[in-house]
Symmetry: D2
Subunit: 279 residues, 4 copies
């Protein structure tokens, strides 16, 4: 029997940036968005209100994703009481800023793993059985995972974040290997640039946030609404043509693999050889 | 002065698969599609006819992309006579099937480079100056490059193809590094699966093509129309959120980095350790 | 004041395979090898005995690396009572064989992280301050990390192992970024093939181990003594020329990035196009 | 019948840096080194003289590797007149310094491919049949390929170099896939740092070379003699434990994947979040 309820878009980590904008986009496309975040009940209510004001359907809940059983309970409750989760977005990060190894406490490193890697495992564990069942009747499921540059290279000062994201990336590959052929689309999105996200980067930078964005120039920071469009696209690729890994960054940003943000390109064609490029 | 003509979508390598479908999609979205291919004038006319029958605007031309000056002349002629090329798709490959090294002649290896790597360089050289100019007034340009698994790993028997695609991938990165900040979006798409393309894979497999597709199961081969949607999405990402590298494959396909297409997952949870995974 | 004691080579995870052979090689080169392993006091004594019989210096200890404080205490005790740890080898894995997601319990996933990722963090935390101090007077330190294919790609059935190893790899990069310029060489070795290791692969395969090795053919399994030579080489590269990531596999093994172990290379040069390679 | 002549170490691209030092190292180990370079007969004679003065055996020849037939002829002549080539080092680069796309002429781009990619193909084509034959009787062959950062990422201004090196890297993978199981070891060495090479980087930098090296600090530039040790190690790994890809750089150099050469690590542990690392 087909579920007659609206398909659900479940966001774990629904702040005013990527999570909230994705919830808005999916609600506009006909989903009921369930927004879960750790704190700020007012902010959560505001996001739900905005979605409803735009004609969409949404609800919110506070969630401590690091707590045993919390993700599992949310998935069970959502499937039972709200609707079938056709698409989930895992949007929690583990960024704590740059810290030297001696300044990275063991419990912080563990918490990074708990939020950055283990939470994805727990979400998949709880959610995929139902998605696999539904895929048998044609409705493929999608797990979108917001990831970071730290998933593909480890920078100085990023011990906790990079270890958590590197584990996340490999986990997304093992999940994809097992579940893509069962009808669950796993997409790992490497966000390789700053996001205009007031609840995360904004809080981290505090009153430097506006100056930071201004310094980036026009369109120099990722608009989470634009990223939400890419998430929508990924979640609706037909199953003959699924993307697993996608990167995004602003046009003016240097991709993580490049190291010359402002190259001394000699217009006379008599350049200086990059010292990196060997003998 | 703004160009009042329709924006052009230029396809180099416009067969009945990816190229033709992308041309159809972009024409449906308001572009005039220019289709260039090496041979088969009838096939070309058929593709143009289909686009026009669907209400779109298109024109076609034969092009030997390996010939000196051919790509350059096509770009100049298109910009002068048809319209500004807002998006180009380089869709030529260099796949010649598996060949051992002794069976890979020097001239074949060179031709692979000429079509697989050098053609992208020549197209960018000819096209990007105009795109950079237009970007100054707000209309960013896009270069979509259809690429292959061979761009990220070299398999046995793929000397020519992999060398050409590996060069292509690194070139796309250098083009992106120089031109993204000037308003040209370069996207390198790793097509990691078989495409339902009658003019390329179809010709290569001949009368085994239908059986090959059937063996892949339902939705087991990439529908070029689905890929064309991803191309459309990439070309229209706002410049604050550009993707540079994207992979696609059918749900049932094993991604290139996995080697267990049919894993012996022991349901008793007492699996056999993959012999690859170390001590 | 220079430490007049022998330099120590500390092995965490010293079985009869990679760990034991590396201990033997470094002892032969003048180090005192400290071998730590979780269990099998007899096996440990046997390894120490073999090293001493060969004229080397060694000692052993049992260690539960997953226990809080155990690694830290071992490092402190070794530095105080035995000698300065000039080189450490983290040789613990987290391989549990292939298991589907539903058969991968949460505590197993966590234990994988604890041994695969967190242990490296804890070892570096405890050991690097002393190494940094010694590097100021010319004696660079080295951390060798035995890693696995699962660090660079996630295969089906490897949720725990790949997440742990992916985290390990990114952590090695962040450690290298912070500590290489302070004189600590971090090398991440991707063991991409089966190792002739009786205590790990041997136990996993049980009485299939000999048959497995025979099936691999002559020199078809990594001899841990050969790998120990590569470890020795890495630990003694002068600091102007350090390697961070190295892969190893037997000559007959298919590297992880290839998927045609037995390619149908058509000697007539009329091969079949790999269906992976695009349009 | 076993060849009673000395094994030959053939260097294509034998300047006073990597090539010359590798020739010296292999001659010291019992090989006859054959040094081939494009120009500077005096410099060539000097290198041969140094090797002989050190008690080694060597000979030199001028070679225009871009010329059709030149590499093939050199291989044939060496095998016939001097000895069996047990190890070859392809040491030619295609670095021309940073040039914007408009300043990169088509013929330069083609020459980059000819030296950077095609030459490796031609060398393997000419050399591997004899190596495969010898491997049947136990003497495995080795192809060492000096490569560059540009093989793994394309930086701004590196259109020619990166396209050539990207092709080279994928070609090394296809060669390895086909020939490792036939007894030929292919090793691709990513030189990710400046080399103290008077004939290449020295010429490129001219009178800025000494200042450049001084600015790098002590041991801040790769000593080609140190790299030669790594080449020797790779060429003599037993076939049960072969490395295919290895990176090297000085301790103080930032690896290509990192972008914070001088991270603002806040010792108070309240760092600034890298703007790259996502939402």
């Amino acid at each position: 029997m087909t579920d007659s309820r609206k398909p659900v878009f479940l966001v774990i980590g629904a702040g005013a940036g990527i999570g909230g904008n994705a919830a808005l986009r999916f609600a506009a496309g006909g989903y009921h968005s369930v927004l879960a975040r750790r704190s700020d009940e007012d902010g959560l209510a505001r996001l739900v209100g905005e979605i409803e004001a735009a004609g969409g359907s949404a609800s919110g809940t506070l969630l401590n994703a690091a707590e045993d059983g919390a993700i599992e309970e949310l998935v069970a409750r959502t499937e039972a009481d709200i609707g079938p989760v056709h698409c989930a977005l895992y949007n929690l990060g583990a960024q704590i800023g740059n810290r030297a190894l001696p300044d990275t406490p063991h419990r912080i490193f563990e918490l990074g793993w708990r939020l950055g890697t283990y939470g994805v495992f727990r979400l998949a564990h709880a959610l995929f059985p139902a998605m696999v069942e539904r895929a048998k009747t044609g409705a493929h499921g999608t797990l979108l995972v917001t990831s970071a540059t730290a998933a593909v290279r480890g920078n100085a000062g990023q011990h906790s974040h990079a270890a958590a994201m590197g584990g996340r990336r490999m986990l997304c590959q093992t999940l994809n290997a097992e579940f893509a052929p069962q009808g669950v689309h796993v997409a790992h999105v490497v966000v390789d640039g700053a996001v205009d996200a007031p609840d995360t980067l904004g809080k981290l930078l505090g009153d430097k946030f506006e100056g930071f964005k201004a310094g980036k120039g026009r369109d120099g920071v990722i608009d989470p609404a634009a990223l939400a469009e890419t998430y929508w696209h990924l979640a609706h690729q037909p199953r003959n043509c699924w993307s697993h890994e996608v990167d995004v960054r602003p046009w003016t940003d240097v991709p993580w693999w490049n190291d010359n943000p402002d190259p001394q390109i000699d217009s006379r064609g008599k350049g200086f050889a990059g010292p990196r490029d060997g003998d």
